[in-house]
Amino acid sequence: MMYQAPIFRLCEITGLRVDRTGERLIRANAVAAVVAFLIAVVGALLLVLTRWQTVHLLPAEWYYRILTLHGVNALIFWIVFFEIAGLYFGSTIVLNSPFCAPKTGWFAFGLTVAGFLLTNAMILSGQADVLMTSYVPLQAHPLYYLGIILFALGALVGVFLFFGNLMVARRAGTYGATLPLFTYGLAAAAIIAVITLVSGAIIYVPTLLWAMGVLPKLDAGLYKLVWWGLGHPAQQINVSAMVAVWYLAAYLTVGGISVNERISRIAFLLYILFICLASAHHLLVDPAVSSVWKVWNTSYAMYLAVLASMIHAFAVPASIEAAQRARGYTRGLFQWLAKAPWGNPTFSATVLAIIGFGFIGGITGVIYGMEQTNIIVHNTLGIPGHFKGTVVLGTTLTFMGITYYLIPLVFRRRIVGMGLARLQPWMFAIGIALLAVSMIGLGVLGVPRRHWDIGFSMAPFRYEFPAVADLLWVLFALGGLLAVLGALSWIGIVVASVFFGPRLQGAEDMPLPIATPVRTQHSTAGKFVAPGTFVLTLVFLVTFLVFFWLNWKWLAATWEVR
């Protein structure tokens, strides 16, 4: 095969050399991501209007079916397609480097698209009513499992291409010894992706064989253990990628850089080493595994990976604050925040995501994931409430935000509907926050997740949830509808811009400016570089402790169990 030298275009806005084939691969994966997201959002709308039993839109069979569809498209397809695009972006364009093997990239894309189509077809045809987790002995049609395997294979190839790109860039000396922080965060995500996808192969291949009748039996306990080695690390990829994008967004919107690169990188190191252990929090109230295994693993090794998140919780806003203070916004504790570019939808999306991920997703995540408090939340609506806070309000909103720069830079189009774009992060954030908090509240009342009828109208014994649940369901519906509006707005803007937006002529055409980096000076030792952020993190800590106290108090009020 003839070696084809990469063709570059010089980006007049950033000065970076852009490998054109690599850029086409980024675009292809980004488009696929949005298609998957649209399916997930339509599913979400149907589900919100079903769980809110005043409407109870879908019949039982279709509820469980669309729940499967929504879970797989939202938690896997949308996010992984977007991340592959991001991985390629971070390992080629950002590093001024070519794509190492474009043909393999297209092969990987073919695999992921084939898997995406096959899986969705099997779900919609009613042959995979097993929900995203597909807990054995629930069984779907073999082609459902094959679809997921194809997708995972394609994604794994994409991840290896990321590492390949890094090696090419390193050998060519385009970045020296140390990767830019954004790419470093993506590398952490890629490492976690390897863990995710290899675990997926270990579990889905035998499951496929079992569904085909080749394997006579599959142990339910083994399945759930290994499946969550795919299931939760998949979400930790999202965490690492999201944080990487936060640093990127801070840089683009206000010229922020990490106040201490060593500390930020150590935080990513802790993610790499320990974050995947906490898949154990899905098995805390399961038999077979011991409390010793549960406590060690669910704690991410003594909460070292949680420490990592807390480091980023300071470092990311601090990067914004330090840059703003260097610009002269030094009055009081929060002038830097008040005078920040709130009219920039990437900025607002990023800040809303940080707050939402931290306060809603993160706090519930840590406490729900403690061995004993899990007793009062497992399989209640609080669990999806938690992860709306992390993967939707956090990762998805972050990804939505950064597209307002990536569309001009990678697709070379202006944003169509900038006015709506400024509103969009707020619609989505407020909607999801309302949705998540009401789900958490309903979970406190014991309302089950993945359940079509909590009126138990066809059950031998009825149970009536407390009256306040009715109010929470209304808030749930309102939040859900607002979030769907926010999501559809984003999709509309993205599609209109990418396919019909006016072409970008040059740097002056950028709909959102790239901030000029500021020199944040001299020695920081012994100083407070981000006093406002420091106060905010303390507020966060207090909130966490309150929620901690509440949940352990509620646990202590239940029956004794040992």
Partner: protein
């Protein structure tokens, strides 16, 4: 930035080398997860004891008596 220094080899701290080495990090991440979560978890599941015979016999016997 030049990839090689001919005059001096400044001593690079080991920890910094670790932080910069993506492939080593990949190995460590996979290894720690594989041992602590996967292997240990599989071992525990595989070693679950069978239901004790005495208890089973006791329950079944009592049932026979109770009829």
């Amino acid at each position: 930035m030049a990839a090689t220094q001919e005059q001096e080899f400044p001593k690079v701290p080991l920890f910094r080398l670790l932080l910069d080495d993506v492939l080593l990090l990949l190995f460590l991440g996979v290894a720690i997860y594989a041992v602590s979560y996967l292997l240990w978890g599989v071992m525990e599941i595989a070693s679950v004891a069978p239901f004790p015979e005495e208890l089973k016999a006791q329950i079944v016997q009592q049932a026979g008596g109770g009829q």
